[in-house]
């Protein structure tokens, strides 16, 4: 009767059985027990105003729809408020699962440009939000040191932080292959 309606189906080859194993191994150990009750979606502040559905994300992860999940911009709408994690009747660490999925997405090269920018700032300054001129002035006016006593005021400390980020592979992850070779 209605020709425009098609039966929705999931291609078998899109389901990667190892995907959920990797999520479980990384710490979201109970994700397979999800009963699709939707409690997570119902308490989600982002879900209230966007099409992001935590329940759908959990289901797709369990089904192994790796590419679908990792490439989805929705993955980045979670504010990590942890409400769903507190409320899940199966005690699934939903928010942890989202962070695990995000780590996987970044490894696959899916990263929002603003997040890349923040990461580069961290790599450069040791702060995700570094000092600027306006706040230097404010600090002086308040009688605080113009530069806070953090990595901002300590070159050796900043070198250490950079060394750590190189060792964990963060520099390469954000800047790409060329970063691996430089000293």
């Amino acid at each position: 009767m209605n020709e425009s309606i098609e039966r929705d189906h999931i291609d078998t080859e899109k389901m990667d059985p190892e995907f959920v194993d990797a999520i479980v191994a990384a710490g979201a150990d109970r994700i397979r027990t999800c009963i699709q009750c939707g409690t997570c979606s119902s308490v989600c502040p982002s879900g209230r105003r966007t099409a992001f559905r935590t329940r759908e994300l959990m289901r797709k992860a369990v089904l192994g729809l790796k590419d679908d999940v990792l490439s989805s911009p929705d993955l980045w709408l979670c504010s990590t408020c942890l409400t769903c994690l507190e409320r899940c009747p199966r005690q699934i660490k939903t928010t942890d699962a989202i962070i695990i999925l995000r780590n996987m997405a970044v490894k696959e090269g899916y990263m929002l440009p603003q997040h890349k920018k923040t990461s580069k700032i961290l790599l450069e300054t040791g702060h995700a939000v570094p000092i600027d001129d306006k706040n230097r002035e404010k600090r002086k006016e308040l009688g605080l040191g113009e530069i806070p006593p953090t990595v901002h005021a300590d070159e050796k400390a900043l070198e250490d932080v950079k060394k750590i980020m190189k060792k964990t592979g963060f520099k390469k992850l954000i800047e790409g292959e060329e970063a691996g070779s430089e000293k």
Binding site: A26, I99, V129, V161, I164, F170
Partner: protein, 299 residues
């Protein structure tokens, strides 16, 4: 009356020293009066942020968080922080290495390269934890300027309370500890819709999906508006940023000035009640003017 003074390592993080030094100022002025001596944690970095950096590289997040903790451990002190995000990072990072010895070894290996030892013996506390230990009763004794008649919308924030199994609070639902501290000043903590919902800033949402983030904040601001509270009170530099910056943005978008709710940080409120001058507490440097509140308090 005095509980014994303790010395803690002040972890500043990013947002407080680099965007809201006025909050930092109030913290430095007020905490010693509550029995906490603050030592600088020199050379500390970003915590790093639990919603962004941890989302990109969990091992990097753990290594840098452990470095900050190791700096405090070297001094034999616990960390104190005034940001829910930093608090969450440290609590979760400590848990990760204590629960999984392999992860501790991994981190120790990395830190060895920069000459640091780390045994995961340092704790991290939120200012409100320490203030609550000092206690509402002791705060009442310090009040010189009772905030009678001031109606306050208290915002706890998410990472202060959750995950509840890694937090010290006895009440995991609808806690009251922050309200108790606020009411010790003589002010009233008012009920408002969705009090325990997220401010919308975390998880990298503010950075990447700012309209969604501001819309979450708008819901909360509207609830606060509805009950005609005199201000929003918070104890997190990132929630603070969210409420101040979102109001400014909403006003700009609409061309009206509907959102003018002063956003006050916990140590600013306590300082006011203790009779400290507003300028000493950085209250003249807000994005949303604190004037209506100050007029109500100072007359």
């Amino acid at each position: 009356m005095m509980t014994e003074a303790q010395t803690m390592s002040l972890f500043l993080g990013c947002v407080m020293p680099n965007r809201f030094p006025n909050i930092e100022k109030s913290l430095r002025v007020v905490m010693p009066a509550l029995g906490v001596n603050l030592e600088e944690l020199e050379g500390a970095s970003c915590c790093p942020a639990p919603g962004v950096i941890r989302s990109f590289s969990d091992p990097t997040w753990l290594a840098l968080a452990s470095r900050n903790l190791a700096l405090a451990e070297k001094e034999g002190r616990d960390i104190i922080t005034g940001c829910n995000g930093c608090y969450g990072t440290f609590k979760e990072a400590i848990h990760a290495v204590q629960e999984y010895p392999d992860r501790l070894k991994e981190v120790q290996n990395i830190l060895k390269d920069v000459g640091l030892k780390y045994n995961a013996t340092t704790d991290a506390k939120h200012i409100i934890e320490v203030i609550y230990e000092f206690g509402p009763e002791n705060i009442k004794k310090l009040v010189k300027r009772p905030l009678e008649g001031v109606r306050i919308a208290v915002h706890y924030g998410c990472h202060l309370l959750k995950p509840s199994n890694l937090r010290p609070w006895k009440q995991t639902q609808r806690p009251t500890f922050l309200d108790e501290i606020v009411e010790a000043t003589g002010a009233e903590s008012v009920k408002y819709r969705d009090k325990f919902i997220c401010c919308g800033a975390g998880g990298g949402v503010r950075g990447s999906n700012v309209s969604v983030s501001v819309d979450i904040a708008k819901d909360k601001l509207d609830s606060v508006h509805e009950v005609e509270a005199d201000c929003i009170l918070n104890a997190c530099s990132f929630c603070h940023l969210q409420y101040e910056a979102s109001q400014a943005q909403l006003n700009k978008e609409s061309g009206e000035k509907k959102y003018q709710i002063p956003v006050i940080y916990l140590t600013q409120l306590l300082g006011l009640a203790m009779g400290i001058e507003p300028d000493e507490l950085g209250l003249g440097m807000h994005m949303i003017s604190t004037k209506p509140l100050l007029e109500k308090i100072l007359g």
